[in-house]
């Protein structure tokens, strides 16, 4: 059975029942399983070069951050992902940006903050939470979590309700309040732009990982960002985590961020 039909059945089912698990209903339909008798049936697979992990994570070493370095990372990311630069502040879209310590870690501010941290720009991006409230809130699964922990956006599916933005405790998400294309200085053809009316955010460079490349920001970070598999005890990121005391943002909310900070 083709896919439109299955979606339609789901749709009809849900309309008829009002609620309940319709996917079970669809799976009971004869022929909904893919034909498996032919070994040569069309199928899909991962690219050979792809970097894979059980749970991707990042460590940000604030001791190595400088304003210039942060600028470089932001530019690399926003160029790679066609992130627009709107004049109107209300329409701002950003995947990675900097802020001061007291804003990145609002619960950890104190009067006697170390000199070094005062005014130091610290990068902020989606935390790729292991227990992501944005995924829980999304009514269409347009925001979903992959097996490897990456919290992804399906721009095709997003209805623009912005529930995920209210749910994210880190302000990591941006909404396309208008067509982004006129505000993109130089379009990168390897990555789509978005259209007005959908939400976007950092995707941990899923498209680059598939090609065997490290995230764009990590690549230009001169070692300030360490990226790797949190569940592989032999990975570099685990080594860094073993050797340093790290903190996560708003840890008390139970979101379990996959982005760690060395202060």
């Amino acid at each position: 059975m083709d896919d439109t039909r299955r979606s339609f059945l789901k749709f009809a089912g849900i309309s008829a029942l009002g609620l309940g698990s319709v996917s079970t209903l669809a799976s009971l339909m004869p022929g909904s399983a893919t034909a498996s008798d032919e070994s040569s049936a069309p199928h899909y697979k991962e690219t050979k070069k792809a970097l894979t992990a059980k749970r991707w994570g990042m460590v940000i070493d604030t001791r190595k951050l400088t304003p210039r370095l942060c600028e470089k990372m932001i530019e690399a990311c926003h160029k790679a992902h066609n992130v627009p630069d709107h004049d109107n502040e209300r329409h701002t879209v950003k995947w990675i940006w900097t802020d001061e310590f007291e804003h990145i870690f609002p619960m950890k501010q104190n009067e006697y903050l170390a000199e070094r941290l005062k005014g130091l720009p610290i990068v902020s991006l989606c935390n790729q939470c292991n227990n992501p409230p944005c995924v829980q809130a999304c009514p269409t699964k347009a925001t979903f979590q992959r097996e490897d922990g990456i919290v992804m956006m399906d721009f095709h599916r997003c209805i623009g309700c912005r529930f995920c933005m209210a749910a994210c405790p880190y302000g990591s998400r941006s909404f396309n309040f208008r067509d982004p294309r006129p505000a993109i200085e130089e379009e990168n053809d390897d990555f789509p732009t978005r259209m007005r009316g959908v939400v976007e955010k950092c995707n941990f460079c899923a498209e680059r990982l598939a090609e065997g490349k490290m995230p764009a920001c990590v690549e230009v970070s001169e070692g300030a960002l360490v990226f790797g598999d949190l569940e592989d005890p032999n990975s570099e990121i685990r080594k860094v985590l073993r050797e340093n005391y790290v903190i996560q943002r708003k840890q008390n909310l139970g979101t379990n961020p996959s982005v760690y900070y060395i202060i």
């Binding site: 896919d3 032919e38 690219t47 379009e187």
Partner: protein, 128 residues
């Protein structure tokens, strides 16, 4: 029912308005357009699947591709003959069919469908 007359007049107007596009186009039936192939596409001879299938089902394939790429992270499509393709509109389809206007738009315009692929994905003409 005192208003029978009015109701009937109303109904007739409603039906006429509703079917207006059919009346309007009546008798001006146009030839269904033939999509044009680029040299590259001609040379390749075969698309990712049989031509007849592609004509009828290309939207289903694209739909499946985007779901599999975005949601399952599987970016390679292996067809029935075991041939592998990157499942990518901008990089695979448009690589051969770089003539969007003569290939895609012609039929889509004829059938009055407006896929929103190009709101986000790029095609060659735009590249300059």
């Amino acid at each position: 029912m005192k208003d029978k007359g009015k109701i009937i007049v109303g109904l007739v107007i409603f039906v006429v308005v509703l079917t207006f596009p059919f009346w309007y186009n009546h008798g001006v039936a146009t030839q269904a357009p033939e999509p044009e192939l680029t040299k590259k596409a001609k040379k390749a001879d075969k698309c990712v699947e049989e031509t007849a299938y592609m004509r009828k089902e290309h939207m289903q394939i694209l739909d499946k591709w985007r779901d599999t790429v975005v949601r399952d992270g599987k970016r390679m499509y292996v067809n029935a003959n075991g041939k592998e393709y990157m499942a990518s509109l901008s990089n695979t389809c448009i690589d051969c069919h770089s003539n969007k206007e003569e290939f895609c738009d012609k039929c889509h315009d004829y059938a009055s469908v407006e896929p929103y692929c190009w709101d986000c994905h790029t095609y060659p003409e735009e590249k300059e």
